[in-house]
């Protein structure tokens, strides 16, 4: 049972018309905060490439130039950070993970996204397919800033934003699930913001 907080009325409530877009325990932030566990990696945009390997019929690597030839789309979305802020009505541009998976034919139901700078995060293929995930290179019409994961990051807006790996280098397809970086360090294995799956025991 909740404890009412004496004298608390709530000074940053979400306007009612936006209430159904803000998951429980989140508040709306208009900026785009940066949260990174170590120094920001420097990835040369021309050297960047994306690999899909592991349990696939045909492992593949796209160079930056090859990646630019893939069909890209605008992705309007709301994003939700486990540190409690949500950013509504933002947009990214990139390539649907469906396009990438079609090219390699995954043979396992799980993936580990891995990044330049050694970050990892685990996702089920189910959360990466059917128009739910992208590899994006632009944010609101500009090249993705380095501090936000440029040249490219994963975008999985229906999960907490740590799943949207910055400086993404590839996806390793696996036959089993395995925790990634934050999932090993106390955060939830799946991270659905609507179920408030923040930490291990949630």
């Amino acid at each position: 049972m909740a404890l009412f907080s004496r004298g608390f009325s709530g000074g940053r409530r979400v306007p009612p018309e936006l209430a159904d877009r803000v998951p429980p325990g989140q508040y709306v932030e208009h900026g785009f905060p940066v949260l990174t566990a170590g120094p920001t990696p420097r990835v040369d945009p021309d050297e960047w490439g994306l690999r899909i390997d592991g349990m696939v019929a045909e492992p593949r690597r796209w160079t930056a130039a090859q990646f630019r030839e893939l069909p890209s789309e605008a992705v309007p979305c709301d994003i939700h950070c486990v540190t409690k802020w949500s950013k509504l009505g933002t947009s990214f541009t990139g390539v649907s993970v469906d396009v990438l998976l079609d090219a390699v034919e995954p043979l396992g139901p799980y993936a580990m996204a891995y990044s330049y700078g050694d970050y990892t995060t685990n996702l089920a293929i189910e959360d990466l397919s059917d128009g739910k995930a992208w590899v994006v290179t632009e944010h609101e019409g500009e090249p993705l800033a380095r501090e936000h994961g440029g040249p490219a990051r994963l975008l999985v807006p229906h999960l907490y934003f740590w799943k949207s790996a910055k400086w993404v280098a590839g996806l390793r397809i696996m036959d089993h699930d395995e925790p990634g970086f934050w999932e090993t360090n106390g955060y939830h294995n799946r991270g659905d913001p609507w179920k408030e799956e923040r930490y291990w025991n949630d």
């Binding site: 409690k84 501090e147 360090n185």
Partner: protein
């Protein structure tokens, strides 16, 4: 007769009702709150707790705050909260919360930006403004439990009035004043630079950096230049938290 006090469930993550045991004003905008926890468990220095406030109509606000105290303070945690003008939880703490009040908390959480005492040493801590809070948990714990470990703090503040934990800063701490040093100050002034970080990080093997994103970017660049390995520079950047 059954025990009236059941064995406390210790899994982190359960909401519990803490009681504010004491409040200390650190600076005009920063206060430290000692909370007594019915389901206390030892945290790792660097970990945080979530705080939840509930309005009479059921509206809820949650924020995360770093623990400032050593886990040797059994039954209690200290949260040091910087009052943000456009926030809703930190102004509530500053303007409303009194000793004896109850607040809901859960934790401790996250196990990357933590100091266990087994990391390579010397350890250099670099804090900007209220970014010093989780670093203070590490420094306090080292002083009490592992004084043999070489640990130094570089602490960047704007003015003398902004120094949190002023009475506790010792010769393991190097201060720099970025805006206005106190009268007669002969130490460092201005923002972090290669001289300051180079000296503090000389022979350091691990670093913990906490502050605004710009501060953390600068500090981690300087630490890399001073020879620290990227995998031993752990950072925590302020998301907006209010």
């Amino acid at each position: 007769m059954e025990r009236l006090t059941p064995v406390a469930p210790r899994a982190p993550g359960r909401w519990q009702i803490a009681t504010v045991a004491s409040i200390k004003a650190e600076t005009p905008s920063v206060k430290s709150y000692r909370l007594a926890l019915p389901m206390w468990m030892p945290h790792l220095p660097g970990q945080h707790y979530d705080v939840r406030l509930t309005a009479p109509d059921g509206y809820v606000a949650q924020r995360s705050y770093s623990v400032a105290s050593s886990p040797l303070d059994e039954g209690e945690i200290e949260l040091t909260i910087d009052c943000l003008a456009d926030g809703e939880v930190s102004p509530y703490f500053h303007d409303v919360v009194e000793e004896g009040d109850q607040v809901e908390v859960r934790g401790p959480f996250a196990s990357y930006f933590v100091w266990r005492g087994t990391e390579p040493a010397p350890v250099v801590l670099v804090g900007g403004g209220s970014g010093v809070v989780p670093l203070m948990a590490m420094l306090r714990h080292r002083r009490r439990n592992m004084p043999e470990i070489d640990m130094r703090l570089v602490y960047s503040v704007r003015t003398a009035a902004d120094v949190i934990y002023a009475a506790e800063l010792d010769d393991d701490t190097v201060l720099t004043f970025t805006r206005e040093p106190p009268a007669g100050w002969s130490g460092h002034t201005g923002r972090l630079d290669a001289g300051l970080i180079g000296a503090a990080a000389a022979d350091a093997m691990a670093a913990y950096v906490c502050g605004s994103n710009g501060f953390v970017e600068t500090a981690s660049m300087l630490l890399l230049e001073a020879g620290l390995k990227a995998e031993w520079i752990r950072t925590e950047r302020f998301g907006p938290t209010g």
